[in-house]
């Protein structure tokens, strides 16, 4: 028995040592940067300490008994076996403790639900495997996906040390930007499967369900960059669709909005101009790396049995129309890229895969053609249920 106790002591020491010696071993809940997330943190700690006290009581009794009421200590077993009084006591006390937890929890729930008086709305759509953001008040609209550096490093046998990549897997190409001190209403939906939008610093997560709209709100107190991830299994790249929210002072936010409008105009013009095949192929290579390579692999060889090869694929060497149709509308595990990619990116990658990765079809497609195909697509989940 002595050895047993020593083992226990060693283990406890080891665990507590780990906890205190290194600051980067986070052990408690993220406190967050909103009033709501702080309240959630406080409730978490309240319930945690109640559990600690109960734990000390129950385990203390048990270990006292294990130590003193042992046969080897010569303890004789008593033969009592029931007591209605005791049973009633240990039913009523836990009930009271539960009430003490339920009251603050209920208050908090009502606060979470209070979407009134929000000052702006952002619609979030989950896609396999990126996020689409639409600012309903000023028309800003973009997709946000894993940044290139993380994406390169996360490929199997990439040879890149994740520790050398800043914010590995928690960085995006285009973050969501919001103003501080503003009550923002979020509307959530999805285009393909269920996802879940979670930024721990905001204090909640919400599922995005195809065909349905969910609501939540936030009011960030402090400017900064807050990172999160998709938390509902959504297929192969579920682990690779992070969320980055940048909360800006109101003045900076206004400047950002202006910039986005200029950018949107430039993109519109790019889609209307005539592109050379070389330019499309060059651009398509990057688009391929960011959107296609994780399944079809960087060299286009695919994964036999799971993801088809692009190289020498009969579909890619066949009619352009059939290939574009599959890419637009998706099939099985292949996501529908019709609305996910801009007309330029779509045309570029369509051209690239026919003239790269070991294929030599020789033709190309213009962004303007893609644009007209995209306008003909049934717009997914665009109704706002207000």
């Amino acid at each position: 028995m002595k050895k047993t106790k020593q083992l226990f002591a060693a283990l406890t020491l080891m665990l507590s040592g780990l906890g205190s010696a290194h600051a980067d071993y986070a052990i408690s809940l993220v406190k967050g940067v909103t009033g709501l997330s702080n309240d959630i943190y406080d409730l978490h700690m309240w319930v945690f300490w109640i559990c600690v006290v109960i734990g000390i009581g129950v385990f203390g009794t048990m270990f006292y008994s294990i130590y003193y009421h042992r046969k080897s200590m010569g303890h004789e077993a008593e033969q009592f076996h029931e007591s209605t009084k005791v049973e009633i006591i240990w039913t009523i006390i836990p009930t009271l403790i539960l009430v003490a937890m339920a009251i603050p929890a209920t208050k908090l729930m009502l606060e979470v639900d209070d979407i009134q008086e929000s000052e702006m709305s952002i619609k979030v759509t989950g896609w396999q495997w990126k996020w689409e953001y639409e600012y309903l008040d000023n028309g800003i609209h973009f997709f946000s996906s894993l940044d290139e550096a993380s994406n390169r490093a996360r490929q199997i046998d990439s040879g890149i040390d994740p520790r050398s990549v800043p914010h590995y897997l928690l960085n995006v190409d285009k973050p969501l930007v919001i103003p501080v001190d503003t009550k923002i209403r979020f509307l959530f939906t999805a285009a393909d499967v269920i996802h879940s939008w979670w930024v721990p610093d905001l204090g909640w997560k919400k599922d995005t369900v195809p065909g349905f709209i969910n609501e939540a709100w936030t009011l960030v107190d402090k400017a900064g960059t807050y990172r999160g991830q998709c938390t509902e299994l959504c297929g192969k790249d579920h682990g690779f669709m992070p969320i980055v929210v940048i909360a800006m002072e109101k003045e900076d936010y206004a400047i950002w909005v202006q910039e986005q409008k200029t950018l949107a105009d430039a993109e519109k013009n790019a889609a209307d101009k005539e592109w050379t095949a070389e330019d499309l192929i060059a651009k398509g290579e990057t688009v391929y790396a960011n959107n296609c390579s994780s399944c079809h692999m960087a060299d286009g060889a695919g994964v036999p049995g799971t993801f088809p090869a692009i190289t020498e694929s009969p579909l890619v060497s066949g009619e352009m129309e059939a290939q574009v149709d599959l890419m637009m509308n998706g099939k099985g595990m292949m996501p529908a890229f019709g609305q996910m990619l801009s007309a330029v990116d779509f045309a570029a990658v369509s051209t690239f895969i026919r003239n790269g990765l070991g294929n030599e079809v020789g033709d190309s497609i213009q962004p303007s053609e893609i644009k007209s195909l995209q306008t003909a697509l049934p717009k997914k989940e665009s109704d706002d249920d207000e």
């Binding site: 071993y25 339920a102 929890a105």
Partner: protein, 537 residues
């Protein structure tokens, strides 16, 4: 041979010879053995998948498997552990022990018993075959949420039929247990004199009969959505993907109690024997089990606090879920009171039971925390949840299945297991299981989602520690296999008595039988039943 079986011995016959014995057997002890051996094998299959998961998560970056295969691993690990390891292990224990505990000669429906075992094998083989199909094994999680699951390749219909087979097998097993308990008890064995293991299994069997058809219905709707153009779960056709989650968790929540209630039963058999004291509060234990089972049907949407339910729904499911803490607390307190002022010894079954009470309580605490809906908005689908349910499944269900093995092996084989090795097995398991799962609480709270094959570098340290725990826990279980093998082959050589454990005869009927228990037992029912750990009135 004890007096209870002697008078009919003249026409007793032993088992058939050779391998065919195991194929055609209708003997509850043989079928119990089949179930237990099968579940042990599946425990290692599912465990290997867990080790692949923990190897990939040992360091940030993708090292060994592609993300799709990783998702197949998490999915198949869960399905194999739930349907192949834990549930069959308890059915195996039920087969062996229930007839011996209630004074019955066999299960009520012996041929169906054989069929439900072989259907389980067929179901699991069908599931395993999906690894070799185009598109790979199912990878949408064991919960199989649509629309994602509908993207599965050729494996989908096979996985669904496999669920059907496993469901039918479970239902037949459950019906058999209910029929046995209601019809085959010795005359002196009134319901309130049944050992708690029998009670918890009776209640579990009713849960199974109620929920398995619901699950079969849900997956059949997936099948028709994919192949017959229905839209149960497709908004574009007027359906609702969240409807599936409601149906699934109406099955799923009682299902997790199917894995924990018999665990409670085993603990309630073991603790009094080694405390040398009657079980404290037998009737309240029975009522608490029934209360937990009832509550399990009305709390399902606490798995869905973030899907977007109306506030009234969220509050109701929060309150109902919190209520579970009351009967569960009663059970913990009763076990503690059973140990209080006993004369305890700490053989392997008792060590595992104490670890179970402590570590299950930790899982209970985190369960209480996540019952609070606003907190669940943070915890949901993170490693905090993974830690929670593994605490309630590994150091609870799995520990108690092994405790049951140590407790009853001497009765089954007539040989004593190697106590020293068993203690080694216990300490390695109890320590490594905490190194494995405790850091996962921290990971979840710090923001690591579950079911991801790779993670941000700030999660690296705890993940590595967790993986080290897994690498110790997994191989340690081979000690158990060795001990069981050695015990069957003769054990320590020391012949055990009928009651095996000091005073066990006073607690439950199986200890009045000879060790090893003969092929046929209680051909005539016993006249008296032990009442030390049951109701005495």
């Amino acid at each position: 041979m004890s007096a209870v079986t002697a008078e009919h011995d003249h026409h007793d016959h032993g088992p058939a010879k050779g391998l065919l014995r195991w194929v055609v057997t209708t003997n509850h002890k043989d079928i119990g053995t089949l179930y237990l051996v099968f579940s042990l094998a599946m425990f290692f299959v599912g465990g290997t998948m867990a080790l692949i998961i923990r190897s990939e998560l040992f360091e940030p970056g993708m090292q060994f498997v592609n993300p799709q295969f990783f998702n197949s691993m998490t999915t198949m690990h869960a399905l194999v552990m739930v349907f192949g390891a834990v549930m069959p292990a308890f059915v195996g224990l039920a087969n062996w022990m229930i007839p011996m505990m209630i004074g019955a000669p066999d299960m009520a429906l012996p041929r169906m018993n054989n069929m439900s075992f072989w259907m389980l094998v067929a179901g699991i083989l069908l599931l395993a075959s999906t690894f070799f199909m185009e598109g790979g094994a199912p990878a949408a999680g064991w919960t199989m949420y649509p629309p994602l699951v509908l993207q599965t390749g050729n494996a989908l219909p096979f996985a669904i039929f496999s669920v059907h087979l496993l469901g039918i097998s479970s239902i037949m097993g459950a019906i058999n247990i209910i029929a046995t308990i209601f019809n085959m008890r010795a005359p002196a064995m009134s319901l309130m004199k049944m050992p708690l293991f029998v009670w918890t299994w009776l209640i579990t069997a009713f849960l199974l009969v109620a929920i398995m058809p619901v699950f079969a219905g849900a997956v059949t709707m997936l099948l028709t959505d994919r192949f017959f153009d229905t839209s149960f779960f497709d908004a574009a056709g007027g359906g609702d993907p969240v409807l599936y989650q409601h149906i699934f968790w109406f099955f799923g929540h009682p299902e997790v109690y199917v894995m924990i209630l018999p665990t409670f039963g085993v603990a309630s058999q073991i603790i009094p024997v080694f405390a040398r004291k009657p079980l404290f509060g037998y009737s309240s234990m029975v009522f608490a089990t029934a209360a937990i089972a009832f509550l399990s049907f009305i709390v399902w949407a606490h798995h869905m606090f973030t899907v977007g339910m109306p506030m009234a729904g969220e509050l109701y499911f929060m309150y109902a879920t919190m209520l579970i803490a009351i009967p569960t607390g009663v059970k913990i307190f009763n076990w503690t009171a059973t140990m209080w002022k006993g004369a305890m010894t700490f053989e392997a079954p008792m060590l595992f039971s104490i670890a179970f009470v402590v570590l299950f309580t930790m899982g209970g605490f985190t369960g209480l925390m996540m019952a609070l809906a606003p907190l669940d908005f943070q915890y949901h689908d993170t490693y905090f949840i993974v830690a929670h349910f593994h605490y309630t499944l590994v150091p609870a269900s799995v520990f108690m299945i092994m405790a049951a093995g140590y407790f009853w092996l001497p009765k089954w084989t007539g040989n004593m297991y190697d106590e020293k090795l068993a203690k080694l097995h216990f300490w390695l398991s109890a320590i490594s299981v905490n190194i494995l799962f405790f850091p996962q609480h921290f990971l979840g709270l710090a923001g690591m989602p579950r079911r991801i094959p790779d993670y941000a570098v700030q999660f690296a340290d705890w993940n590595m520690i967790s993986s080290i725990g897994a690498f110790i826990y997994g191989p340690s279980q081979l000690i158990f296999v060795y001990i069981v093998y050695k015990t069957i082959k003769g054990g320590t050589g020391e012949k055990v008595t009928d009651e095996v454990w000091e005073g066990a005869k006073e607690h439950s009927l199986e200890w009045t039988l000879p060790s090893p228990a003969p092929y046929h037992t209680f051909s005539t029912p016993p006249k008296e039943v032990p009442t030390l750990s049951t109701s005495r009135s």
